[in-house]
Subunit: 560 residues, 2 copies
């Protein structure tokens, strides 16, 4: 984030000066934004950078304990420089939060420079995960930096202390956010498919119950309870991959438009990536833990790979925008879009469906037989109608409040649900779009169609309340959808292993004894156990101090 920050907010000279140093690692930089008391609300940061016209410097300072920088990755022990975000103060006036390049440590001996207090924030979730990263804390005590170390692409402070807005559009910053969040969605698909690969392979190895006439027990992947928990996650892994590919396209599109000074699609693209970041990371975090549970007791072993995957993944729900805060941003955008319906302003991109509001508000789902739920148009209309009706219901309820902000706060839980419905629609529609293209490989398209239907119908079942309460679907139709879902599980079953093998992960990358490609789980679990240092001796260290005195009733001698 150090480098993108300079790229995004630095002037051309700043980029020419700092980027080569950072790329060659002659300096190691970190992105120091979050503070001990300030995360989501960037505008609430307390660190100050006060311009001193006498010396042409900024004085960077941490005026309170809660203004201590907290969490930046690589800050604690490694970074020599930081892009620190601070309130720009010029002539007593606060000009909001901007980035400043601050050297933290000597390039000779790595000692912190005068006025800099820097350290590690301590242990985090899991035994590995982010514990190998020196997330750091940082305090400034009136640290002076040259004026040209403020990133001045959008706002400049002159030698004379004038604050000048540049003609670079501020919206460019959103371009970087779209980029970063798009990579997070791609990562979600990646983490989810790893967990699903492990759980699916192990579900085919693990047998339990159902032995008949002394034969082998049933593979747990053959149980409908296992399938109904596992296969929707498998389908989600594919769904997130496709929506991630589409987001990559969206980013390119937005970037090209920005370069041509076209900002028209930016709010929609921003809402879209914010919402999908939230949706996919929340779903993935839950899914990794669900996959662990699907592996039974052995999923709790570190050698299953799942505890580490979980511990290292879950921060994605919080960083780069807390997932709930992001859904509220989406909701705000949706409420604005709904309020403009009928004003002549056409909703674009992922909200284009709202232009058919009249139809979607009163249409009835046409599904009459289980097979009808395999039809893309039936599914799509149901999801569009549900999303729109939830948004419109929120908008109507908001209208009852005299103070709109008060209404937004009061109804925020409902708004989050409406935003979720909208984001699920995006994923569903991109999956369906993908399947309208040519897909190489014999029978591949058919498998993906099955997965797409699984993804769609499991969402429909999980959020049945939404579909029924908005009248998009009748209880009878919901039951048909569920019946169809059940029979799809049987279709996924024979290809489940192939569908996770298709991710093409090496055993080394998966890092899981349970998820081994060759299925040789039990001998390897046994082997792995003996590698534990506790097993280096048969009589454990501490036997004489702790165990023997207890057994021999010499408790006075025990070190307990």
């Amino acid at each position: 984030m150090f480098i993108p920050a300079i790229k995004g907010q630095g002037t051309e000279e700043q980029q020419q000066k700092w980027l080569p140093l950072a790329y060659k690692m002659q300096i190691i930089g970190c992105y120091a934004q979050t503070e001990l008391g300030h995360g989501s609300n960037v505008q609430g940061l307390e660190t100050t950078a006060t311009f001193d016209p006498q010396t042409d410097e900024f004085i960077v300072d941490s005026p309170t304990l809660t203004s201590s920088k907290w969490w930046p990755g690589g800050l604690g022990k490694v970074s020599t420089h930081a892009v620190a975000y601070a309130r720009l103060i010029v002539k007593g006036q606060d000009h909001g939060v901007h980035g400043f390049i601050v050297q933290l440590r000597s390039l000779d001996d790595h000692m912190p420079l005068p006025g800099i207090t820097v350290g590690d924030i301590g242990m985090k979730f899991g035994s590995g995960a982010y514990n190998s990263m020196d997330n750091g804390l940082l305090r400034f005590d009136h640290v002076r930096i040259p004026r040209d170390q403020m990133l001045m692409r959008v706002l400049q402070v002159t030698r004379e202390g004038k604050v000048v807005q540049s003609n670079v559009p501020r919206q460019l910053i959103y371009g970087t956010m779209v980029y970063v969040r798009q990579t997070i969605v791609a990562d979600a698909s990646c983490a989810l498919s790893r967990a699903v690969c492990i759980a699916t392979r192990y579900s085919a190895v693990r047998r339990q119950f159902g032995s008949q006439n002394g034969g082998p027990e049933t593979q747990v992947i053959d149980y409908k309870t296992q399938q109904s928990r596992l296969f929707p996650l498998l389908a989600s892994a594919y769904a997130f991959r496709f929506v991630g590919e589409w987001l990559k396209w969206l980013y390119t599109d937005v970037t090209q438009r920005l370069q041509a000074n076209d900002f028209s699609t930016l709010p929609e693209a921003h809402a879209c990536t914010a919402g999908l970041k939230s949706l996919t990371t929340s779903a993935t975090a839950d899914a990794i833990e669900e996959c662990r549970k699907l592996c039974g007791g052995h999923g709790y072993l570190s050698s299953s790979g799942l505890p580490e995957l979980f511990a290292v993944y879950i921060p994605a729900c919080t960083y780069e925008g807390d997932n709930t805060v992001l859904l509220l941003q989406v909701a705000r955008f949706l409420m604005k879009t709904v309020s403009q319906l009928g004003s002549g302003k056409q909703p674009v991109g992922s909200t284009a469906y709202m232009s058919r509001a009249e139809h979607l508000m009163q249409c009835r789902c046409s599904a009459q037989r289980v097979e009808d739920w395999l039809k893309p148009n039936v599914v799509l209309e149901a999801f569009e109608a549900r999303a729109l009706r939830m948004s419109v219901a929120c908008a109507q309820n908001l209208g009852k409040f005299s103070n709109p902000e008060e209404g937004f706060a009061e109804l925020s839980a409902d708004l989050v649900e409406a935003a979720t419905a909208h984001c699920q629609l995006i994923v569903v529609s991109k999956f369906i779009e993908k399947l309208q293209q040519d897909i190489p490989g014999k029978g591949v398209k058919q498998q993906l169609q099955t997965l797409c239907s699984v993804y769609v119908l499991h969402l429909l079942h999980k959020h049945q309340g939404d579909f029924l309460s908005t009248g998009c679907v009748t209880p009878k139709q919901a039951a048909l959808a569920n019946e169809q879902l059940r029979s799809l599980y049987s279709q996924v079953r024979p290809n489940a292993i192939a569908l996770v093998d298709a991710f093409n992960y090496t055993d080394h990358y998966l890092g899981s004894v349970l998820g081994r490609y060759d299925g040789n789980v039990y001998p390897k679990l046994y082997e792995e156990a003996w590698k534990d240092p506790l097993n280096d001796s048969v009589v454990p260290d501490g036997y004489h101090e702790y165990i023997r005195p207890v057994l021999k009733q010499q408790l006075r001698n025990a070190r307990l």
Copy 2:
């Protein structure tokens, strides 16, 4: 579990011989049931204990790798003895799984005895949690034990090799299961209330956004999104405590009946505890992680206490009966109960509501105004009708299969949902019953009533699909319930801190900087960070080997 096993399955002589040794810790025993390839299906265990009439001994053996004992707590490095479960083989005939006391290690020098291979199974989830427990593996190579070390309370093997069923009822074993699972429900309430206490207190300390005219930002506990995630968990902590108290009573009741040879309530009590074990542990595991997320980034720090609480708690979803397997047992019991409706056999205990099937199948919810959702009878009837209708629908769908077992397997995902609905009804009804009693303390009852309504209405909202699809509630009524829920959050808010203080946990017990009673979070987080050993030196170990060569472009010298 070593001691309960001997108590439950040992003869009186066996109890007299082994229990004093175990209590005085002159031996340290573990409960060795689970094997590498066998968990839920106890009847599938592979370890054998073959009677040798020549020497009056059993030969205990692990015939396969998958028969290795795996997971028993305290087995790896500490235990000197185990109650090992093995298939009893007498004269070539398999008499099923029984318990055998086997000495594993010498009482002189703690060395494993001949024929015993024992060790630790390796690292597990989290950095602490069960890593301080030596969950072990164990293999027997034709280990001989005296005949009287088989636990013979229910089945005896005589000197002559006759296998004799005792007149002790086998159902007694269920009594132990009821006991153990009842303690697990109590533990769930305890773990959940710890997590909720931390998240609630920190939500009052943490502020974000909403600063007006330079004043302080809004406490995050004042956001409806935070309330709608946190307060249902607070309500659940109370709900689980009350249902736990009731289960304690149920265990006493069942025990007294068993002593009087009355087994009539045992199946219902067994289903009840199995289901509540599943319901409360799943909810608690999810809730701890939700509480962590509700603490934002800082919840990811070990010093928040939540990562450790999660890692140490989650095995409860798997041990003592995998949660999905348990719900299927409940479902089986419900299907049996439904099939007997109208046969004259009255459903008892937690299924008594099913005797009003005729009414519950066609009743309509009477709620017309938001306040109606505060009425216990309105709520109870809606939950009863939903649970019954889901069970009856499953029973009807099962009837369409010619092979009932095939039908049960095919519909198992639906059956799990019906079982969940039934178990939620139990929790709801016990909460309501509790409030019909006198409750000391001024205004306490009123607060608990509010929490009870929060618990009930958040379930109704979460499972809206169930209530709507079964026609128990109309979309209009569901919307009213949701509106009532929202206004209840505002009622909980002023007392939220008092409601978690009421758990009376010391800071030491909570082990959380974020959950401190005095709210002095930020200074203590800062203090805590400096305690990390990484901060013992300002220039980190490894600077010269790893960091400096990179900065100085002397990569040949770097140890990377």
